[in-house]
């Protein structure tokens, strides 16, 4: 097996094994971290399908995440407060809604966006995502700016998502399925055309492929997967906020993909892990410095609130100096 395959297997096994261990040893916090990481990894893998393999720089992917979350939140809200039927908490209904809504949104916006190229494409995808953000914020019933607090989770037969371990299990299995799905698509005949269009669109067209249709298909599939991730996210946080679809969340997703490396299936997963761990490490380090300053000089500064500063600097450094992301670094030793 290639080194890449080894690393992928090792990483996925670690992801499956470590979080439950943390949970059973009383560190539920790390299980939560892992669940969040896994769910975002699903969204990142879906983004990589169109970004890494398709060459489509979509800066609005968070819209699908948010729509998926609200597809869980809104029915649950009505069930809680308007007393509508139990179907509104049915997990299959949630997932069905999430996927249907995001696929439709992807189809309509993709049909428009894909007629543009380059910078236009980046900005338009961002604008459409922001449109959804403002739409949701304008609907007072669902909390507007403040978001929705939903105390209930999707109901699946035989599954209790209130148990954090089971929720993690669902997220993990979903991630594995999504990774296999994307791998399959990328290596198929369809995937060849998609990748060729990324490398040289005009050539692919003159060969006889209507690349617009291929890219649109990929765009819809990618959006639907992210919508599914959103439904999981809605279950995980039970606080569903428009921030989930803000363009800055799109930027974070994009960073996960770039950080992990766009050339592989595992890359975005590593990127998601690195991103989330980075946040934790920065907050912890700053808190440590806070205590140090307090202990030695009696200075009380709330440093940990400002973790975005070193974070942003790191992101800039990564953009400037790290090519190919984490997977690129790991694989480089192979050459």
């Amino acid at each position: 097996m290639t080194r890449k395959t080894w690393i992928t297997l090792a990483a996925m096994v670690a992801l499956a094994a470590l979080p439950p261990v943390f949970y059973w040893t009383g560190n539920a916090f790390y299980l939560d971290l892992a669940t969040r990481l896994t769910i975002l990894a699903i969204a990142a893998v879906s983004l990589n399908l169109i970004l890494g393999y398709g060459g489509l720089i979509s800066f609005g992917h968070a819209a699908y995440l948010g729509l998926g979350a609200y597809a869980v939140g809104i029915p649950a809200y009505h069930w809680l407060y308007d007393g509508i039927g139990d179907w509104a908490t049915n997990g299959f209904v949630h997932i069905g809604l999430a996927v249907a809504i995001t696929a439709t949104f992807a189809l309509i916006t993709g049909a428009i966006c894909l007629r543009t190229r380059g910078v236009y494409f980046i900005m338009i995808t961002m604008a459409f995502a922001q449109m959804i953000y403002y739409l949701i914020v304008s609907i007072e019933t669902y909390g507007g700016d403040d978001g929705l607090v939903i105390d209930t989770r999707s109901e699946f037969p035989g599954l209790n998502l209130d148990d954090p371990l089971q929720l993690f299990g669902l997220a993990y299995v979903s991630l594995v399925v999504v990774m296999l799905l994307v791998k399959m698509i990328v290596n198929s005949r369809f995937g060849m055309v998609l990748q060729a269009a990324k490398g040289n669109n005009e050539r692919t067209v003159t060969l006889g492929f209507n690349t617009y249709i291929y890219q649109l298909f990929a765009y819809v599939i990618s959006g639907a997967i992210a919508g599914y991730a959103g439904a999981l996210l809605g279950n995980f946080t039970t606080f569903i906020s428009p921030e989930m679809m803000d363009w800055r969340t799109s930027g974070e997703l994009m960073f996960m993909v770039i950080l992990g490396g766009t050339a592989t299936i595992l890359g975005p997963v590593l990127g998601s892990a690195a991103f989330i761990l980075l946040e934790e490490i920065l907050v912890d380090s700053l808190t440590w410095v806070e205590h140090l300053l307090d202990g030695i000089w009696g200075m009380k500064i709330e440093l940990s609130n400002y973790w975005h500063l070193p974070f942003g600097l790191l992101l800039i450094i990564i953009v400037l100096y790290v090519r190919g992301g984490l997977m690129g670094l790991i694989n480089r030793k192979e050459d």
Binding site: N187, S188, R189, G191, M192, T204, G208, F217
Partner: protein
């Protein structure tokens, strides 16, 4: 026999510049028809309009009897027209075989398959390998395209054109940038495929053109000033003036 490709009254201007000026040309099935002309004659614009990347202002392009003037490029490929590029236009990040296999896939027409792995598809692989053998690149099938030399890229262009099994191959300066030895290799390659395919060859290299062409058309300032056999063209005064100036 009806012409395979029939161009009549083609016109294309960019601002004040007339790139194609009342151009008339017909290509017979089975022939290798070369287009020559001084620099700036409008050869690239002609190819762009033929394959559909640009629309003419006026005029009609008929392919296999059918008006294709407004048909989009990917459709023309499906109708049996293929084009190679003067400036190498391959998918650099993919392997040599991948590039050819993609062209095979295009011809086969079953590209909306999501499940089976394309690189492991025996049909695609065998055909791609056969084509690579024909152009002498079978040993490099697994290498990344970007690693090959310019001459090898030009051979890949021919393999891609062959993969399409197109009725009409538009070859845009296949000899571009090649040294003497490589040019001879390319001439032999083209001699080998000539006759089985109808070829419209745009070229600068006169030796190659006179060695290969059944008929030659001369393009000057966007207009075809003469068409005929190599001997006709060699002796044609207007052509000599166009190339060598009034004092020739």
């Amino acid at each position: 026999m009806a012409a395979l490709l029939d161009i009549s009254g083609l016109n294309k201007s960019f601002g004040g510049i007339k790139a194609t000026d009342d151009l008339n040309l017909s290509v017979e099935p089975g022939e290798l028809h070369a287009i020559i002309g001084p620099n700036g004659a409008g050869k690239t614009t002609l190819i762009s309009q033929l394959c559909g990347l640009q629309r003419p202002d006026t005029g009609v392009i008929r392919f296999k009897g059918r008006d294709v003037t407004h048909v989009p490029p990917h459709r023309r490929a499906r109708l049996g027209m293929t084009r190679s590029y003067q400036i190498t236009s391959l998918i650099m990040e993919m392997s040599v075989r991948d590039n050819i296999a993609l062209a095979v896939q295009a011809r086969e027409g079953h590209a909306f398959r999501f499940i089976a792995a394309a690189r492991k598809d025996p049909g695609l692989r065998e055909q791609a390998d056969a084509l690579l053998a024909r152009v002498g690149l079978q040993a490099k099938a697994d290498m990344k395209t970007v690693a090959l030399s310019h001459g090898e890229h030009r051979h890949m262009e021919i393999a891609i054109a062959l993969a399409s099994q197109a009725d009409l191959m538009l070859l845009d300066e296949p000899m571009a940038g090649l040294g003497t030895e490589e040019t001879n290799a390319m001439i032999n390659l083209l001699k080998g495929i000539k006759g089985q395919h109808t070829i419209l060859l745009i070229e600068h290299d006169m030796d190659a053109v006179f060695a290969l062409a059944d008929r030659i058309s001369v393009l000057v300032y966007g207009h075809i000033i003469a068409t005929g056999t190599p001997d006709d063209i060699r002796g044609n005064e207007a052509v000599q003036h166009a190339y060598l100036g009034e004092d020739a």
